[in-house]
Structure formats: structure tokens, C-alpha cells
Symmetry: C2
Subunit: 228 residues, 2 copies
DNA sequence: CTCGATATTTAGGCAGGCCTAAATCCGAGT
DNA sequence: ACTCGGATTTAGGCCTGCCTAAATATCGAG
């Protein structure tokens, strides 16, 4: 058990690469060098070089000119970082006064420094939450993760009521704006109107009506617990 | 104000060197290359090279073959790390179930990763403590630090009663032993007997009598609030 | 004052991780 | 089938930060 703990020590860089590749390959689809370079804000040759080392370490498989895929070891190492990151975010918000729009950079640094012990103590202090402040699901210590089914607010049928389960956004500005509208995980909203051709969406949240641009409505994910 | 915050970004290595040199030069006495190498468990040539870089960065002054001394900038950077370390230790013990003998390595890693914001939030959550769990004084955010006067338990006059203010020990084993005897900061003890020539010391702590070897009694520091 | 032990520095090397410039591959369009 | 542009990899370089081996400075003892 606890497949995410006590793994060989990896450098911060390696941890970041693995996390990035994990993010870029949701269901095993290979990630390209340039996608990784783009996400990590590094040059493509740097990624190429690191990819070679990581494949020699057995953390990923690389088909030259095609892309990379995490091995099981790589996926577990990545999930370990994701678990850390999300638990740290939850802890900082719950206990140290961080808000969901400022917590990311702090977690980004801490995730490389905390011990497995500390992570599990934070998890316990939080009561082993299932998701972080953005609604992103927290992988279990054994490496399992369950992504709740959801649909973007922009796809919710008009007239339908649903709970927000997740907000897929990282820009602080947008997060603050969404929070100011009450559009945070747990909030119950009703879709009142949708304009065609990617037009805005009108939503009722806590008795107030708001008009949201389509791109913004797209990152607000609603639960699909259909009537029961 | 807040001289300890918002300083130029230093690497983990540099931060560790500065902290080590600070520890080795209590009142400005120069620290030698080998002392630093010893404390950081590095080779002397490694230290020599780093010292050159640090002096070029203006963080210390180096008289070749004589020793190094922190500049004001270096002292502030070191104090910043000390503040972080001690606040983190206090926080982990108070809120996350760490004990004083296990908290050091965790703090050692976190001190390089936390932001100034997080440190200050932890300080606030703790109520701005003056000392960490070992009684080591926590530098203020402005860089000031006050070391309370104290004498080793081994030097306490026989018959005298005093409060333990600090325990200058880092080995977990010894810390656990001292804690098991109730010899932790805040405890009030009376020196019952001392054998000559560096012999053991008998101390009353919370109604129980314990015999302590001289080296151990030496790291237990007692307050010198003489009858008043 | 000189010698030798010890501390320190210099010289040279290596790994991690990043970069730019140059070579190479791939695949789309004709 | 060929070619051209974009993606990718290779080549080569730099900085940090560590190492060992060798040179050099210092200091105490005789």
C-alpha cells in the first residue's frame, strides 16, 4: 500500500517534468516535446535532453519524433506530486488564510520540499478531502484517482440546475472574478440562457443572475448527478 | 521594515552556507573553511570555491587562509533562514503533531521553499512566538534577535532552582531522553547535587530526581532570572 | 629560523539542467 | 514523388555545485 510514498529521490526538475507529462496525457495519449516545453516554459532541446534521461531512468517511454508516455513508475511519481500539490493547496486555504487564486505558486514550491509524513499529516488535519479548493480530485495515497463526471457550465442544458464541482482555471484574475460571482465548487447554479455561436451564458447563482462569456463558462464544471 | 523579506533570490546551497557561517560566528568571530566544511558535510575545496562566490556576491568577507565573516547583507539573509527554520519548527510541533526530536529535518527542507507570506502566516497562527520548541529564540522580521541570558544546567549552583529556557541539542535520541525526563523548555528544575571533575549532576524536575551526565547537563540551558 | 604538520587554496573533472545554433526528420501539399 | 516548413534532435557551451589530487600558505616546535 501507499504506492505514492517512499519512491527513489527525484530532483525538482524531474518532478516537474513528470507532472507536466501527466497533465498532457490524460488517457495515455503521448505528449510531444513542444507541448512539454511550452507548459514548463523551457526550450525544446532542453526537453529533448531531459526526456532521454527520464527514459533511461524508466520513468517514461520515448518514441523519437513521436512523443513520450509515462511508464507505470512515472505515472505513480507524477500522481504523488499531484497528491502533494492538491493537499497542500487545500491545507493552505483551510488553515493559513490563502485564497484559491493565490495558493498555486506556494504549493508549487512546497510540493518538492514536504516529506510523505507531512503530506499525510496535512491530509489527516483536513479530514482526507477528496478534492482541492478548485475541485481538482486528490489522488489517494495508493495512487488511485477518480475524476467525477462533469460537464462545462457552457454545455449545461438551459433550465437545468447543477452543482459546480470543479473550476479548471489557474489565472488568479479569473479565479477572483469567478469567486466574486459565487461560482466556486459546491455552489448550485441554474442555467437561464445561452446565446448561440459561442455566445454568453446567463446563470443564476445564489439568487443572482450573471452573464458569463463562453470561454469562462467553459472552465466551470458542473456535476452530472442527474436527478437522484 | 521587514528587513528579512524580499531579498534577492538565493539558492538552497547559498542559504545553507550563510546559515552555517552565522552559526559558527556568534559574535563576529571569523569562521574557518574547515569548520564550515565540517558543519555542512562538504569537502574543504567545495567550501573554498563557494566562499569565493559568496564574497563576490557581497554576502561575506574572506581573508584568504584566515576565515570568513558575514557582511550585513549576509547576516540578514542568514537570520531570515533562521527565522524561517524556527517558525516552521514551532508550527509543525504546534499544529501538525511533530515532536521536538523529529521536526528538524522537515524544517530544514521547508525553510528553502516557503514564501515570506507563508512564514508570516505561520507566525501569526502561532501568536508570534519568541522561541521554537527547543527554546531557540526566533529572530524578528526586522532582523533583530535577543538571546536570553542563560547558564548550563551543569553550571547551576547546587540548591538553586531555575526554569529551563533552551535545549541546545539536535540528536533525536538525546532530545527524546531529555523529554522523557521532563527536561524541556519551561520546566522548572532544582539542582540537587554535582559531582566534581565533570561528574554527573542530580536534578529535581517535577518532583522526580534524575542523574544526568555532565555533557547532557551542559546542553540544558537555564534562565537567569535571579529571584525577581 | 627552519621544518614539518595541518589548513587552505588551486587545478581539473563530473553531473544536472539549462541555453542557442545547426542538423535532421516528418508530413502536408502539389 | 518531391519539396518545404515546422517539429525534433544533436552539437556544443555555460553555470552551479560538488568532488579528488596537487600545490601552497601558516603556524607551532625545536
Amino acid at each position: 500500500m501507499n504506492a505514492l510514498a517512499d519512491q527513489p529521490a527525484l530532483t525538482r526538475s524531474v518532478e516537474d517534468y513528470l507532472k507536466a507529462i501527466y497533465r498532457l496525457s490524460p488517457e495515455g495519449r503521448p505528449a510531444s516535446t513542444s507541448e512539454i516545453a511550452n507548459l514548463l516554459e523551457l526550450s525544446a532541446p532542453s526537453v529533448s535532453g531531459m526526456v532521454k534521461r527520464l527514459s533511461e531512468l524508466g520513468l517514461l517511454e520515448h518514441v523519437p519524433y513521436k512523443g513520450v508516455q509515462l511508464t507505470e513508475a512515472g505515472r505513480l511519481a507524477a500522481l504523488r506530486m499531484v497528491r502533494r500539490h492538491r493537499l497542500i493547496e487545500a491545507y493552505l486555504v483551510q488553515f493559513l488564510g490563502y485564497s484559491w487564486d493565490t495558493v498555486h505558486p506556494e504549493a508549487e514550491r512546497l510540493e518538492h520540499a514536504v516529506s510523505d509524513t507531512l503530506v499525510e499529516r496535512m491530509a489527516a488535519a483536513l479530514g482526507h478531502p477528496a478534492a482541492d479548493p478548485h475541485g481538482d480530485p486528490i489522488p489517494e495515497a495508493d495512487g488511485s484517482i477518480r475524476e467525477p463526471a462533469s460537464i462545462p457550465l457552457s454545455d449545461l442544458p438551459v433550465g437545468e440546475t447543477a452543482a459546480i464541482v470543479r473550476v479548471n482555471e489557474s489565472e488568479p484574475e479569473r479565479l477572483r472574478y469567478l469567486a466574486s460571482l459565487g461560482l466556486t465548487p459546491g455552489a448550485v447554479v441554474t442555467l437561464c440562457d445561452r446565446q448561440p455561436f459561442g455566445g454568453p451564458v446567463t446563470v443564476d447563482a445564489g439568487g443572482e443572475r450573471h452573464v458569463l462569456g463562453h470561454p469562462l463558462a467553459d472552465v466551470v464544471l458542473c456535476g452530472t448527478a442527474h436527478h437522484g
